[in-house]
Amino acid sequence: MRKGVMAVVLFWAAGTTMADINVDTLARTCNNCHGLNGVSAGATMPSIGGLPKGYLSKIMKEWKYDKRAAATMNRIVKGFSDDEIDALAAYFSKRRWLPVAQKTSAVQLKLGKSVIRENCEDCHGTYGNDPDIDAPRIDGQSTEYMALELEKYRDEAFDMPHRKMKKTIRRLKDGEVTPVVDYYGAQKR
């Protein structure tokens, strides 16, 4: 019986309030597209486990209140209360960030490093592992997802917030975008 009890305690230990029980249920609906514990198995969707609570909460609320364009997520989050969004952000921020180091060539890494030094490093860090409310972790984030995100920032028809990010991304030359995502996607520290 002991082993079984332990399992229940573990299942239970996730939270001590009714709201927390609810957040487990809510979070499981996110797993479909973002993976168990927020580790995505699909290259076009981001891993979210281990990202800062403030960042996750901020972008979900920006989608909810139409301050950030999205193709799908803005419709999904509108059905959740601000408290639920905060609870989900807290839940996924407590998961472990599991960077997936994606292989790239030495040439691409070198080029990427020179571009990020000039353009990205100040906010995202040299290795992409120094997150804050505005700059999520991107070390070992899926390169396909990051490329799509940068496409959003570069396309004027897509209404993204964050003037600095837009300005920076739009001044990159066409050939510089891929090295940047390949560089950060290859990091694992």
Partner: protein, 445 residues
């Protein structure tokens, strides 16, 4: 759970055999808290089995599924058009075995709810404390005169369960001459994958355009008067393939005599109430209902076709300790015409709720607050996708469709309205692939 004393709970749990929590005490040794049998290893069944084990490893879970390899129905229209290899949709059961799910490849022949046992064609017998049914759908070939299971497997594939028929339909499309006519017959709803027939029309048109069959015609004969994501499909069809009597894709509604009642398999003629339509490829999707195992138990009480379940747990309304999830069940906000769509994502959402409710019940905990979500992408060309999302909650014991958290991709944006910039469609075509990899991993990984 502030009002709940955890120590008292554990004490209670240690004192009382867990089996007594369930209505019939089948749980045997103290180590196993309860035995759950899951019938059907699609998105719904695999997810239920896996999440039961994730939430409580003290539960013994057996999954019974006929096939050793599962082929995803979602995105299988891309196999028909040649945009995707069928292998990219296939997955085995090793992943969920790693979670401790016992996987049995056999066919369920009988369920005895009194004895709480499941019998298989292979002569095996499984006793359960709780049973989760996720059997998919059963096709009613008799509803279309002239159609049969044999014809569906040889000459008139429905390809509404991904696998050999998907590949057969692909070969038929490849053999279709330029100027040929591809007929898709859609049954009266509800049916599995509401946007599927219309996505298929687009994928077939995409194939024809890619292969110089510019005079081909895709005729959708529909028993219904509207369909899922209609403005999005019509916008895309018009922009990409031409839509209407002069376009490559044409849709005939039920009100305009679109319902196919009879088929002549030799001349490939579809007969509607007043008309007849000849095709070079005839793809009739027969009406369907809850899977056979659920029907045999008398659970298909809704319109004699679908299984009614409790909103807080997915437990069948008519049978204690039997849960029905996936395409076989009926749920959602029926009063406002917002039933649960029969989709893979929805089945997984139901599976997770059923698993969580069952784990709570087995452990004597309060039922979790339910929430059900759906996300469904349709891909009409390699760089053109769109989606619908759904959110349901449960209030006063009833499902409530949450409109603010539901809806289709925008058709237009801004004032005055302009067609949505292309980047939105490109993104959602990409997201469809990410969705596929993630749902396969979440259900089977």
């Amino acid at each position: 759970m502030p009002a709940y004393d955890r120590r008292a709970f554990i004490k209670a749990l240690s004192a009382a055999p867990a089996a007594s929590i369930l209505s019939i005490s089948n749980a045997h040794a103290a180590k196993v808290k309860a035995r759950v049998v899951v019938v059907g290893g699609g998105y719904g069944g695999a997810t239920a089995a896996k999440y039961l084990r994730l939430l409580d490893p003290g539960i013994e879970v057996t999954l019974i599924e006929r096939e050793t390899v599962y082929t995803s129905c979602p995105l299988s229209n891309e196999v028909v058009s040649g945009e995707r290899a069928i292998e990219t949709l296939q997955v085995g059961y090793k992943g969920i075995q790693k979670h401790g799910v016992r996987v049995v490849h056999d066919e369920v022949t009988a369920i005895d709810p009194a004895k709480k046992s499941v019998t298989t064609a292979g002569g095996q017998n499984f006793v359960y404390d709780a049973l989760i049914l996720s059997p998919g759908v059963e096709f009613n070939y008799g509803a279309v005169q002239g159609l049969s299971k044999e014809l569906a497997e040889s000459r008139l594939p429905h390809a509404w369960k991904a696998g050999p028929q998907t590949l057969l339909l692909k070969r038929q499309l490849e053999a279709m001459p330029d100027g040929g006519r591809f007929i898709i017959a859609v049954p009266k709803g509800p049916f599995r994958c509401p946007p599927g027939p219309y996505e298929r029309a687009a994928q077939v048109a995409h194939y024809c355009k890619q292969h110089g069959k510019n005079k081909a015609k895709i005729l959708i004969l529909d028993a219904n008067d509207s369909f899922s994501k209609k403005p999005l499909f019509e916008q895309a069809w018009k922009a990409l393939y031409g839509y209407g009597p002069d376009g490559m894709i044409e849709w005939v509604s039920g009100a305009n005599d679109g319902k196919v009642e009879r088929v002549d398999p030799d001349s490939l003629t579809c007969h509607t109430g007043f008309g007849e339509h000849n095709g070079d490829v005839v793809n009739i999707i027969p009406p369907h209902s809850a899977g056979k195992v659920a029907r045999d138990l008398g659970l298909a009480t809704f319109k004699n076709a679908w299984c009614e379940v409790k909103p807080e747990s997915m437990e069948a309304t008519g049978q204690k300790d039997i849960y029905v999830i996936g395409d076989s069940c009926v749920g959602g906000d029926l009063a406002t015409n917002n039933a649960f769509p029969k989709s893979a994502h929805m089945a997984m959402s139901q599976a997770k709720m059923a698993a969580a409710a069952l784990v709570a019940k087995i452990n004597g905990l309060p039922l979790p607050v339910p929430v059900y979500t759906n996300t469904c992408y349709s891909v009409v060309a390699p760089d053109w996708g769109f989606s619908v999302v759904h959110l349901y909650r449960v209030e006063n014991g009833q499902w409530v469709y949450i409109k603010s958290g539901s809806g289709i991709s925008p058709v237009t944006l801004g004032t005055p309205p302009k067609p949505v910039p292309r980047i939105y469609r490109r993104l959602e075509a990409q997201y469809a692939e990410g969705w596929l990899r993630n749902v396969l991993a979440d259900a089977f990984g």
